[in-house]
Symmetry: C2
Subunit: 225 residues, 2 copies
DNA sequence: CGCAAAAGTGACTTATAAGTAACAATAGTA
DNA sequence: TACTATTGTTACTTATAAGTCACTTTTGCG
C-alpha cells in the first residue's frame, strides 16, 4: 500500500482511469460517426496518443465497442433503479429514471449508444449486449404496464410506447451539443417531459420546464439576468 | 417512340427502374448497418448481381448515398405538403404529414435515412443534403409554431418538439419489421398519434389506434377473426 | 542517481472494400 | 440470322484501416 493510499493513485488505478477515458471518447465518436465510420486512429488522435497505445488498454476494436455498450447499459440500469425507488406511479418512475439516464449520458459520456448499428458487434459480445438491451427494454415495458394499471398512463401498447420514448431519447446524439443553449439537465428533463406526456393518463395542460417558454421570452430572460 | 409506347418500357426507362431499385435496396441496408458498415458487395448480392454491375448506374458509393438521402427528402417534403393541404390545425398538418411520410418510408423504402451518420457523405453532396434536411426541420418547426398560435399545440419549444418527434420517427428503423405483427400503416399512425400527443393542447383521454388495445385483447382478436 | 517495469511510438503486415478494365453474355434491330 | 448496343462478370489494382512488433521514452522506487 502506498503511504497516502487514497491520495496518490496506484499504477493500476491510473491504468483503469485511462481505459475509461478511452471508452468515453470512443463512445462519443462512435455515436456521431458510427462504429464503422470511426477509425482507431481517430480515437487515438482525440486523446493525443497513437493508435498502438490504445492496444495496451483494449484487446481490439470490437472489445472497445463492447465496453462502450456495457457502460451505457450500466448507466441505464442504475438510472432505472433510481426511478423505481423514487417514483410513486408508473409514469413517475419512467420520468425519473429516463431523465437521470439521459442527463448522465449527455453530460458524462456525451452519448447514448445501445446498439445503434446492426452487426457492428461481432460474435459472443453481440449476443451479450443484445440480451442486456432487451432486458432493459422489457423493464421499461413493465413500468409502462404498471403505469396503465395504476392509472398514471393511458391504455396503450407498451412496446410502442417504449419504442417512441427510446427513439426520442437516443436521437439526442444527433442534435445535442454542450456548446448549444441548453444544459444537459435542461435538455434531459424537457425532452422526457415532452415525450412521456404522449402516454400520460392526465397530461398537464401546460409544460413545466422553462425550456418550453416561447423563444422571445427566453431571449429576454437572458438579457435581463 | 415504340409501338406500344406506354406498355413496353424503353431502354432508358428500364435503366431508370434498375437505378431506383439499387437506391431502394441500398437505403435499406445503409439504414440498418450504417453506410460505412455496408459494402457495395452486400448491396449487389441482395440484388442478385455483382458489384461491378452497380457502377453502370451510380458513379460511386458516395453518389449512391446521396441519392438515398435525396429520395428520402423528396418523400418527406411531399408528405408534408399533403399534410399542409389537408390538415386544418397545426397539429393536424403535422400528424397527417408525418404519418404519410412514415408509412411510405416503412413500406416502400424500408427506411427513413436523413443523415443518420455524420461525415458519411463527402464534399459538396454533404452540404446539399444538410441544407435539404435543415429546410425540412424548419418547415416542421413552422408547423409547430402555427399549432401553438392556433391553439392546437401546447406552448412549447418548437425545436425540442421537432427533435422529439423526429427521434421517435427515425427510430423505427431499429425495431420495425414487415414480418412483425404490425402493418406499415398501423405502425405509422399509432406511433405518430402517440408522439404528437406529447405536445397536443388537448390530448385525447384515450388513444384511437387499435394497436393501443391491451395485448391480450389483441391476441383474442387474432384468434377470432 | 540508476534501473526495471510500464507506457508510448514508428514502421511494418494483413485484411477488406472501393473502384477499374478487359472480356462475355444478352437483347433489341436491320 | 447477323450485328451492335447494353448489361453484366471475372479478375485485377489501390486505398484504407485493423492489428503487430521491435524499439524508445517515461516514471515510480531502492
Amino acid at each position: 500500500m502506498g503511504r497516502w493510499a487514497n491520495a496518490v493513485p496506484s499504477r493500476a488505478e491510473q491504468s483503469d482511469t485511462k481505459r475509461k477515458a478511452i471508452i468515453r471518447e470512443a463512445a462519443r465518436v462512435f455515436n456521431r460517426r458510427g462504429s464503422h465510420g470511426t477509425t482507431l486512429d481517430d480515437v487515438a488522435e482525440r486523446l493525443g496518443v497513437t493508435k498502438a497505445a490504445l492496444y495496451r488498454y483494449v484487446n481490439n476494436k470490437n472489445d472497445l465497442l463492447f465496453a462502450c455498450h456495457e457502460e451505457a447499459m450500466e448507466i441505464a440500469n442504475e438510472a432505472l433503479e433510481a426511478g423505481e425507488r423514487e417514483g410513486r406511479t408508473g409514469i413517475e418512475k419512467i420520468q425519473i429514471g429516463m431523465t437521470g439516464y439521459l442527463r448522465v449520458m449527455i453530460s458524462d459520456l456525451g452519448v447514448p449508444v445501445l446498439l445503434l448499428e446492426e452487426n457492428a458487434l461481432a460474435g459472443e459480445d453481440a449476443t451479450q449486449i443484445r440480451a442486456l438491451r432487451d432486458a432493459f427494454e422489457k423493464r421499461l415495458r413493465r413500468l409502462v404496464e404498471a403505469g396503465i394499471a395504476d392509472g398514471s398512463i393511458v391504455p396503450t401498447n407498451p412496446k410502442l410506447a417504449v419504442f417512441m420514448l427510446l427513439g426520442a431519447v437516443h436521437w439526442v446524439t444527433k442534435w445535442y451539443s454542450p456548446d448549444g443553449p441548453w444544459t444537459a439537465e435542461e435538455a434531459a428533463s424537457a425532452l422526457i417531459e415532452l415525450a412521456t406526456r404522449g402516454f400520460a393518463a392526465n397530461p398537464s395542460p401546460t409544460l413545466n420546464s422553462h425550456l418550453h417558454l416561447p423563444s422571445n421570452s427566453r431571449a429576454k430572460r437572458q438579457k435581463e439576468p
